[in-house]
Each structure stands twice: as C-alpha cells, then as structure tokens.
Amino acid sequence: MASVELPVLKPGDYGSDQDVRWCPGCGDYSILAQMKKVMATLGWPREKTVFVSGIGCSSRFPYYMNTYGMHSIHGRAPAFATGIKSCRPDLNVFVITGDGDALSIGGNHFMHAVRRNVNLNIVLFNNRIYGLTKGQYSPTSELGKVTKSTPMGSIDNPMSPLSLAIGCEATFVARSIDVHIKHLADTLKRAAEHPGVSFVEVYQNCNVFNDGAYKYATDKAVKADNVIEIEHGKPLIFGKNRDKGIRLNGMHPEVVELGKGITEDDLLFHDEQATQPTLAYLLSRMRYPEFPEPIGVLRCVDAPRYDDLLNEQVAQARAEKGEGDLDKLFNSGDTWTVE
C-alpha cells in the first residue's frame, strides 16, 4: 500500500488571497503571523481547520486564513463553533474574538461554551477598547477611562477575562502578548493541542484608539518588572535581574525580593495542573501596577468534553437500540387499520 505523504506546509500556505485591512501597526497583524506559524507546525490538514469569529476588528481574522472560516455576528461565535464542533468532532475549531465581542454582547455564550468544555480554541484579542466602532470603552477598560462614550471617564468596573474563564471551569487558560512573538506562538500551540476548551487572552495593541494600553507589559525598559512568565513546576520569579518573586502570605500573594533570607523555595510554585482552580484564579487576580501580570498557562487540566460526550451518546444509543428504523417507529404503539 502506498503511503500518503502529507505535504509540508509553511506559514505562507495559511494566508488567504484577501487583503489584510487592519490599521498599519495594529497588534492583530502579529497575532495573525504567529497563528499561521503555529498552524504550519501542528500537522493538521488545512481543510480540517475552521476559524469562527464574531464582529470587531479582530473578527475579520478568518478572512485572512486559508482554511474554512465563518465571520458571524457580534458576540455569538462560541455558539456557532459549538454547533460545528458538536456535529464534526473531526474539525479543529478556533474562535477569534475581541473583548467587546466575547465579554459584552457575547458574555453569555462565552461563559457557556467554556463551562461545557467544548473542544474549541478561543483566542481573545484584548485591546481594552472597541476598535471597529471607533473607540468606545470595553468591559476590560480601566475605571476612569475617557472615551467617546465616557467623556467624564468610565464608571464601569473592569472585568478580568481570565478570572471569568476560570470561574466558568475553563480547563485551559493562558495569556500572552501580541509583540511577545515566541511566547505567543508557544501559547497558541499549547492551546491548540489542549483537548477541551482552551482560552487564550492576548494583550493586543490598538494603536489607533487605545495606543499603549499595555506599554507597561511591552516596553523593554519596564516589562520585566511588570510581567511574570509563569511555568509549570517553576517558582514565580520576575524582574530584570530575576531578583523578585511572588510569595503566598496566607491566602494572599505578595511581592518579595530574593536574597536577605528569602530563597526560591519560599516562593509560590506554579502548578497548572492543580485540580482546584484556586491557584489559577489567584494568579488571574494579579494586576498591574500592584503586581506583575502573569503570562503563560495558568491552568491546564483534563475534563470530559461536551462534543465527545454528545457523540458518545449517539454511538451508545445506536449500539443499544440499533440504527433508528423509521418504519418501526411509525408502527410502534397503538395503531389501527381502516379497510
């Protein structure tokens, strides 16, 4: 038997023939580039991949990938993706969404796709602003944010997408940054390979309406002090000279300096596989400027997947009752004959 060789795909093979129309300098370009790169390493046939998005700048993403794709309606991408994955477990389904799309109008669907653990890869481009509608504040915008719709400053308390996902029992939760390209690629790859729902928040710069929102996390001069790269089994260390760490004081994290009696062993060690989401949640609460913000995988655990269970029930019903026979069904129960 002749063996079928899969063609080796390059990142370029994942680009569609459509012009990419984001503003020059937008963080979305970088995420697109990393996604193409990751795709090429996964070894999946292109035709087996579907990108589903809602509405927003980021949601134009599927048009730019040479895979199957659906640009749907605002906030509902997780629901479309659930339908696709439930019927076709053989497909690799990505959901591309923005902070407004996923958390405002789509909060409900996001929450339910996550808690069902549908085997989707959800990537949230968080620019802390509404880009497509030209600069209104979003559910992740900081208090006091002055935008077109909040001239006196936003009075909405912002939410943490990671905390929300963890609260919804997400089995894979991670964060990365658009310009941190190697980290981003690694994170996307791990998310893609996770069986079950994976949720990745990507800090994305909207250089038109919210430029520099993540300067603290991207500026070479300060980022080492403001971001902490977490790794499974490793202590939480950060700082330009890797001289700072996170220690648990009772139930609370605190920033400590290494040396002067504090060693690595005193620090919090990351366990992404902890069965309880407590640690992941605690990490998701660490916010700049009080804390360095964690990037990397906060949680990665295994749990039954909705799409598997659904298809198993179908298989089980067929095994137990046999393939459905309509004539038998029609003639079951009480019937009578008219001559």
Binding site: S16, Q18, P45, R46, E47, K48, V50, F51, V52, I55, Y63, M65, N66, Y68, G69, M70, H71, S72, I73, R76, P78, A79, F80, A81, T82, G83, I84, K85, S86, C87, R88, D90, L91, N108, H109, M111, H112, L310, N311, V314, Q316, A317, R318, E320, K321, G322, E323, G324, L326, D327, L329, F330, N331, S332, D334, T335, W336, T337, V338, E339
Partner: protein, 621 residues
C-alpha cells in the same frame, strides 16, 4: 406491536347511534384533565373514529386550586365522518369543580350532558368560583341533562383497602371520570388499562387504584339508574390504511427525522425551551440512535447560531421556538440568509405580543417571520394546517431549504402543536428521496467559487473537511460568484435582487394552489395554518346550502403559489379568516391589489365554524 380494537363494552341500556360527539373534560390544573382527554382521544381513534382535539390549559403550572384561572380543559371531537375541527359546542361536559363548570358551561349545547363532581361543590369551592348559590341545586342548569356524581366519594371507596393516602386516592378521580365517559360512548377500557400498566409499572398500588377507579366509573354508568342511555359513534370512513394518533409537535419531530433520513443526513437541533415548542425538543432528544443531536442552548440566539454552525458543517440543522424566541433569532437568521445555508426555523406561534398568552393559540407571527429581520432579508415561509400535516410540512420545508440553500421558516401554532388527529402511517420507502450533493473537490484549474449559482440560483454547499474548497463565509456582503467581501454598490443591489429571486424561484418547485370547490364564484375563503379545519368545514356547509363558495388553503406564504393571483381574480369576493388582526390580508392586498375582507380573532381560541359561516354570509349575494 399493532392491535385493533373493537368496542367491547357490553351495553344493557339503550344505545343511541350518533354521527359525532364533542366531549370536554375540565377541572383544576392538577386534576389530570389533559390525561383524561388524551385517553379518550386514543381510545376513540383506536375504535376507528376520526378524532380532533383541543387541549386548553393555563399558563401557570399550578394556579391556586379551585380558582377560575387554574382551570384546565381538554376537548375531544370524534366522529364517524371525516372531521377537521375539535368541535364547536360541547355535547358532554365533565366538570370536576365549580370553577371548571363556571368557565366552561357556556360552550355546552342546550340539552347536552353535564356531569359534575358533586363532592367538589362545597362552600369554599363555590365561593372561589364566585357562585353565591350551588348551581347544581338551583334551576340555573335546567337546560342541560345534569348528572350530579359524587366522584370523590366513589373514587375513595373504589380504592379502599389499597393503603393510599387520601391525596393519592383523590388523584384517581380523573380515571373515574374517564371510566364514566368511556361507558357513555361505548369505549373499550383496554387501551387505558394498558397505559396504566406501562405508566405505573413501578407503583403497583397506584396502578391498581387507577384501574379500580376507571372500572368503577364505567360500572357506575352501567348500573346507576340516572343514566338511561349511552351513545355509539361508528368507525369513520377514512381513506384505507394504517393509522396512529399524533400531535402536531410529534408529527413535526417525526417529519424532521424522516427528512433527515431521506436526505441521508444526521439531524442537529439547537433549541431553548419555550411553550408551546418545547415538545419538539423533548421528542427529538429521544432519538439519538437516529443520528439526532439535540443541543439545549443557553438562549435562543445560541440555539439558532449553533444550528447555523451545524448547517455550515454539513448537517441538516434546525432551531425551534415560539414568537418571543423567534424575535431573538432575527439577526442570526439574517446571517443564514447571507451565508445561503439550508436551515429550518420552526415557530410554534402563541398569543403575543411579548409573553402574551403563552399557552394559547394565535397566528400573529406571520409578519414577524416575513419581515422581522434587518435589511432586505427574504425567507421562504411554510405553514402546517393540521397536527398530522406537520409531518409533511417538515419534509417539504427541508426539500426547499436544501435545494435552494436558504433558511426556511416553518409555522405551526399552539393549537396544532398540542392538538392531535389520526395520521395515516407512511412507508419510508414510498417517500421521495431528497438528493443533496456536496462538491467533492476543486475542478482542475478553476478556483472554487463559493457563490457560483445554478439555474435556481442556489450556491454549492461545500463543507469543511473537503480538500481544496477552503472558503470563508460571513455576514458582510458577498461578491457574487467568488463570495469575497464586497462593498461595490452595484453588487449589493445585484445580490439583494438575487436573494429575492431565489426565494421567488421556490414557487417553481411547490406547484399550483388548489381550490376546494369551483374555480370561480361569489366568494373565496382564503386561509393559512390552523384555521384550515374550521374554514374547510364552513365552506363545505355553505356549498351544501348551494352557495358559490370555494376554499383555498395556503401552505406556502412566501412565495405564494404562481397561480394565486389568477384564483383571487376569479371570485367576486375574498374572505380571509385569521387568528390575528389581518396579517395575511395585508400581504394579499399588497401583492394582488385584491379588496379582501378580513375575519380576525385573537382570543386564544380557534375559530368556530359558525363564525366563518356567519361572516361569509354577509358577503354572499
């Protein structure tokens, strides 16, 4: 297992032969009246009668006991002739308490049989129903044949010795009432005895109590001197074949499953519970071995979106709801129109607006489903006319959706959904297969065109997983042919025209409108949906009286059949009875410039035949 039934009850009293009867059970919503009605329906159907039913229940699951608001009723019409409605006035009314009597007695015909549970007419219950005097004791009900039956007491005595609580004993009263009704119409107890056996398998004491109550009711009719005669309704002369009883929701579910098999597809339902559509979700959830996947979504929006995802991925997909849920699905339906994917959207209408009358029937979503989406967004609309018709409507809707690559709206209503009638069982092999082709790969040297059109203007249904056909769909306007995003003004006009023409092309598939009666005359009664039966019966009666009246019943509301204009023009007048304030009238007047007359009713109830006859007569010479 299929069995045939004859009425086996031996009658020692006078048996009066009648052609048809309408019986209504009414009582408190906890009294089991729906069950009593269903059992009488099934038994009558098994005895060979034609049957039609009208369940009518309150929106509250358990309204305060004994109140007017908590009355639940179930009406059964059975006949030795072909019937089309659940009956108008009631021949026999079984009232379990004063509130039930008060809210229902007006529908009982003069001289009709009134069976009242005398035990329930105590001071408190009378007060609750607003009776100053006990109506069973004064002359107010003198025009009926009244039977005061101490049902509570008789039931308690029948189940005596079974070690039941009083509450459990009293709960068997509905079986006593059934037994009495069964005796009155010469019905066999067997089907209900079998039902009891199956239903209460794990509760032998309750099963025994219900059996005893049922038998006691029958024996009471037989032995009490009060009842001097019973009635006999012969078998109906229905077209030959094997039958079963079906509600509209069940018929719809089975029709959908059949359509799936006919097109060699697995079925995906995305749904969110809502009365009166939930039973379709319940029914389909039972058939996973038929490849049915049901998804109870977090809301109606997710329900329709998941179905669109399923359609994109190659499944036969549908979503089911009622008016309020359909409103939420509007935006996603618009997307399905843009994506040009086959999708079925079922609207089981109920009283509106907003939550309206959730358990009552209405036909007032027609304009919503025609126009309730943003932009120029036409969708084919088909409506079922009777419970059993839901089966065929489901198949026809899918035929159109798959052939034209378009979402299709199926209209049913609460009256069809919960009502039942005999359905002539079909053989699967006799049904015409639905052929669906998915492109299997790219044509050499030609890029795949996701919006290339065939002669009906349908685009190809290429599904994910197929090598070489990768394409992106979305709600932004498409360039015709390629399917790429396009803001070109001329293209938008062209695509808008094309989508509209595609829906109009459906008329080429659905065939001509039929007319019951002469093709021209003084009056055409034009109907759609649930009022079919009342209109048909009314027109038949008017024709028998010699009037030049015909009936046309629309199955497709978008597009209208090609010859409809010609038909409308052949009659001097057109009458459109609708359970809304004139929605089809608006469409007909607009499209055909016909001065149609409306007969409108929004009372949560179907039309009475007499209402249609009376209105028709005002339009006749």
């Amino acid at each position: 297992m299929s069995t045939e039934f004859e009425s086996e009850t031996e009658q020692s009293k006078t048996v009066l032969q009648i052609e048809e009867a309408t019986v209504r059970f009414c009582g408190d919503s906890g009294d089991g009246m729906q069950l009593a009605g269903t059992q009488l329906t099934n038994t009558s159907a098994l005895a060979g009668n034609d049957v039609a039913t009208f369940p009518d229940f309150p929106a509250e699951i358990r309204a305060p006991r004994g109140t007017l608001a908590g009355v639940s009723g179930f009406q059964v019409h059975f006949a030795s002739t072909d019937i089309f409605t659940p009956g108008e006035t009631v021949d026999a009314l079984v009232a379990m308490n004063p509130a039930a009597l008060k809210t229902n007695v007006a529908d009982l015909k003069a001289g009709g049989v009134l069976i009242a549970n005398a035990d329930a007419f105590d001071k408190k219950s009378l007060d609750q129903a607003g009776y100053a005097e006990n109506p069973l004791e004064d002359d107010s009900l003198a025009s009926y044949q009244m039977f005061k039956v101490p049902m509570t007491d008789l039931t308690r005595r029948a189940v005596d010795g079974l070690d039941l609580s009083q509450k459990e004993a009293d709960r068997c009263r509905n079986f006593f009432a059934m037994g009495l009704a069964f005796w009155m119409y010469g019905r066999s107890l067997d089907p209900t005895l079998r039902f009891i056996e199956a239903k209460f398998k794990k509760l032998p004491a309750i099963a025994e109590a219900n059996r005893r109550a049922l038998t006691a009711g029958r024996n009471y009719g037989e032995t009490t001197d009060a009842f001097v005669s019973s009635y006999k309704v012969d078998k109906a002369k229905l077209p030959a074949g094997k039958y079963r009883n079906m509600t509209g929701n069940q018929a719809l579910a089975w029709g959908l499953m059949t359509a799936a098999k006919l097109s060699k597809k697995d079925l995906f339902l995305g749904s969110y519970p809502i009365t009166p559509a939930s039973d379709i979700l319940h029914e389909l959830s039972r058939y996973k071995n038929f490849g049915v996947r049901t998804f109870q979504a977090e809301d109606e929006i997710a329900a329709v979106c998941s179905a669109i995802g399923a359609a994109y991925s190659g499944h036969m997909a549908l979503t089911t709801s009622s008016g309020p849920g359909i409103a939420l699905k509007g935006e996603a339906m618009g997307l399905a129109v843009m994506l040009e994917l086959p999708l079925l959207v079922v609207d089981v209408q109920r009283g509106g607006p907003s939550t309206g009358l959730p358990t009552k029937t209405e036909q007032s979503d027609l304009l919503q489903v025609m126009f309730g989406r943003n932009g120029e967004c036409p969708m084919p609309v088909i409506a079922a006319r009777s419970p059993a018709d839901c089966f065929e409507v489901a198949i026809e809707a899918w035929r159109v959706a798959a052939r034209f690559m378009t979402p299709v709206m199926i209209l049913s209503d609460g009256y069809l959904a919960n009502g039942s009638e005999p359905w002539r069982i079909v053989n699967f092999d006799d049904l015409e297969p639905i052929s669906i082709k998915h492109p299997e790969g790219p044509v050499e040297g030609k890029p795949f065109m996701a919006y290339e059109r065939d002669e009906m203007l349908a685009r190809p249904w290429a599904i994910p997983g197929t090598p070489g056909l990768m394409h992106r769909v979305g709600g932004l306007e498409k360039q015709d042919g390629t399917g790429n995003v396009s803001y070109d003004p001329k293209n938008h006009q062209h695509m808008t025209d094309t989508r509209a023409q595609k829906v109009r092309n459906v008329a080429k598939l659905i065939g001509d409108q039929e007319v019951m009666g002469e093709p021209s005359g003084d009056l055409l009664v034009l109907s759609w949906g649930g009022p079919y039966g009342s209109c048909r019966t009314a027109v038949t009666k008017l024709q028998a009286e010699g009037h030049k009246v015909s009936h046309a019943h629309l199955r497709w509301l978008n597009p209208f059949p090609a010859n409809l204009g010609e038909i409308l023009g052949s009659f001097k007048k057109v009458l459109i009875p609708e359970l809304n304030m004139g929605q089809l009238s608006l469409l007909i007047r607009n499209q055909y410039m016909v001065d149609a007359v409306s007969l409108n009713k929004v009372q949560g109830k179907p039309f009475h035949v007499t209402e249609i006859i009376e209105k028709a007569k005002t339009l006749l010479p």
